[in-house]
């Protein structure tokens, strides 16, 4: 129980730290990003809603009031979900922009991440089971080699080969110019066609970490005394590998899964930019290049909170899977 309490405490504390970090980053900048943005917004032909302006002031901070009262206002705005209006997509609010981009990233990342985890863990277990055989060296060396390839470069090559030279898949975007998001079969098949190459780019490098982690863990667990005892008892090799080796070796990969999510969200910035895919990562980069501070700030806050929640869930799962962790933290 203490373990779960401690994890919850850590989750709440990191959440607070992330929100505070998000408060400090724009205020630590030389110059005054909020004033610059407000000036640019006033240059717009359409009048800006005063409530939206107030939200931007709270989020980014203009130099009125002391830091403490600014912080209080900011927390209030965050709690009420007032992240202001997007500069580059005016008059859409920041939250509306994020809501449109979110499903694209969730589906692309969700599917490829789960597939990478499954493929990687299986291949790693297989390599450990056949340790020092040809299978092992092909898997280990192959994944090490793939792991050294820069991942955005693979994306570029995929476009070059499959979209431009062979013309099998579209070269970017989330859906074709002729269709628009709707609940029709046509749209889904179109969106699927557009997601094949980005998914492939994520799937080529995705399993590498899992393969190496799983193999090394399992080589270790298969060398433990209880595995030796199982061999001495004459249990079938397959059973030893699965229930004595793999079952325990998979544990660190479960926590790794959530941590990797943070890295993967970073990866989506690259993949989505290369493939011009309408998800959160591309939105973030667009916000950065347009100096759209409200959008940038809200996106960073949302991704961080998402990763924190994933980590918390992984910690809780880990506690259920491995009783030793619960006890170790209690002492």
């Amino acid at each position: 129980m203490l373990y779960f309490l401690r994890r919850t405490g850590f989750f709440v504390a990191t959440l607070w730290a992330a929100v505070t970090l998000n408060f400090l980053i724009p205020r630590l900048q030389p110059g005054d990003p909020a004033q610059a943005l407000l000036a640019r917004l006033q240059g717009n032909t359409q009048a800006v809603n005063p409530a939206q302006l107030a939200a931007i002031r709270k989020m980014l901070g203009t130099h009125d009031g002391n830091l403490l009262s600014q912080y209080w206002d900011y927390l209030g705005a965050v709690v009420h979900g007032q992240f202001g209006v997007s500069y580059s997509y005016y008059p859409y609010s920041v939250t509306a922009m994020i809501a449109t981009a979110l499903p694209w990233t969730l589906i692309l990342v969700g599917v490829t991440q789960i597939a990478s985890f499954a493929i990687g863990t299986l291949l790693g277990a297989w390599a450990a089971y056949r340790r020092n055989s040809r299978v092992d060296s092909v898997i280990t060396l192959g994944s090490t080699f793939v792991g050294t390839l820069p991942f955005f470069w693979i994306g570029l090559l995929l476009i070059f080969v499959f979209a431009i030279t062979l013309n099998w898949f579209p070269d970017g975007g989330g859906y074709g110019g002729g269709s628009s998001p709707s609940w029709t079969w046509l749209f889904f098949s179109d969106a699927f066609q557009h997601s094949v190459l980005p998914a492939l780019a994520l799937l080529i490098t995705g399993p590498v970490g899992w393969i190496i982690g799983m193999r090394n863990n399992m080589v270790q667990t298969l060398g433990e005394d209880y595995a030796r005892l199982a061999r001495a008892k004459g249990l079938p090799r397959r059973r030893i590998a699965l229930t004595y080796g793999a079952r325990i070796a998979i544990l660190p990969n479960v926590t790794g899964f959530a941590i990797a999510l943070g890295g993967l969200l970073g990866g989506t910035v690259l993949v989505e930019t290369i493939f011009n895919y309408p998800g959160l990562g591309r939105l973030l980069l667009e916000a950065v290049s347009n100096k759209d501070y409200p959008l940038m700030q809200a996106l960073f806050l949302f991704t961080t909170i998402g990763v924190l929640i994933a980590n918390f869930l992984a910690d809780v799962t880990y506690g259920f899977l491995d009783p030793r962790v619960r006890r170790a933290e209690a002492t």
Binding site: F10, A13, T14, A17, A18, L21, I25, P26, Q29, P30, G31, P33, N132, T144, F145, G147, T148, L149, P150, F152, W153, I154, L156, L157, I159, F160, I164, T165, D171, N216, V219, Q220, G223, I259, G262, G263, L265, G266, G267, V269, L270, T273, I274, L284, L285, A287, V288, S289, K291, Y293, M296, Q297, L299, F300, T303, T304, V307, L308, N311
Partner: protein, 275 residues
């Protein structure tokens, strides 16, 4: 060193890295033209005069590739050293002092581990008023020290109760002296591995940020090259050499680090040793 040299993978990695360092140091001699000299025909394919063709602005791709090694190695070295120093300061203090200090520092380490790094880098780079290599190095350092700090903290916790530390304490040595002269020498291999990991991460991050267009476009680096190749239409004009070469050398540099790590791993973890 000699033990590492005897490991064939490690030796290959060291030779490769040495080659990259030589190329970076003698870039001006090796490259046939200046990296930003744009006197040539635009978007040409590979030829005798331009081994890897020319860019859309009429610059020599091969010369840029040679000079790009400098940027990658400088970023790797500087950001690697800086984040190793931060990791040592935080990890060693937390692990040695324990108690409240440890709780607070560990919290920051764990925070650093869970915050998504690339979005943080992108946001930091986005707010900054100037673009440039210095900014990229700072951003990479600020975001990249946590992992090393966690490992060093774990290591010092196992070291701090050893007999020779207790002996040094009774001899009246100061905490700083104990850490500097008793503990750090025993962690050298860990620090070296940590530095290599940090340098590797920094090289990859620089390439990624530059590729996203967040670096100074005048800096010659492999990331900027890929950025300009994809913007300059290398995909549609079929200039495969301009596109393939920067990624390939980046992969080779990363491979050299990975190979050296194999050697060090085999040294420290007998389970993974091949016999």
């Amino acid at each position: 060193m000699t033990i590492l040299w005897r490991n064939s993978k490690c030796r290959a990695g060291m030779i490769m890295l040495a080659a990259f360092i030589l190329i970076a140091v003698f870039a001006a001699v090796i490259a046939p033209y200046g990296p930003r000299v744009s006197d040539f025909g635009a978007s040409e394919g590979p030829s005798g005069a331009h081994w890897l063709g020319t860019t859309a602005r009429g610059e020599d791709v091969f010369s840029q590739l040679v000079y790009g090694a400098r940027t990658s190695l400088i970023v790797g070295l500087v950001a690697g050293v800086l984040s190793t120093l931060i990791a040592m300061a935080v990890g060693l203090t937390a692990g040695y002092l324990r108690g409240v200090v440890d709780e607070v520092l560990s919290f920051f380490i764990n925070l650093g581990l869970v915050v998504p790094v690339l979005p943080l880098m992108v946001v930091l780079a986005g707010y900054a008023p100037v673009k440039g290599l210095g900014l990229i190095i700072v951003v990479i350092t600020v975001t990249g020290w946590a992992y090393g700090a966690r490992i060093k903290r774990a290591q010092i916790i196992t070291l701090r109760t050893r007999d020779y530390i207790t002996a040094a304490k009774f001899a009246g040595d100061s905490t700083a002296r104990i850490i500097a002269f008793e503990i750090v020498p025993n962690m050298i291999s860990l620090i070296v591995v940590g530095f290599m990991g940090a340098a590797l991460g920094a090289i990859g991050a620089e390439a990624g940020l530059a590729f996203l267009g967040l670096g100074d476009p005048q800096t010659v680096s492999w990331g900027t090259m890929l950025n300009q190749a994809s913007l300059g239409g290398a995909l549609t004009t079929g200039q495969w050499a301009w596109l393939v070469a920067p990624g390939l050398v980046l992969a080779l540099l990363i491979t050299s680090f990975t190979l050296m790590n194999f050697g060090i791993d085999a040294l420290s973890n007998p389970h993974l040793r091949e016999d």
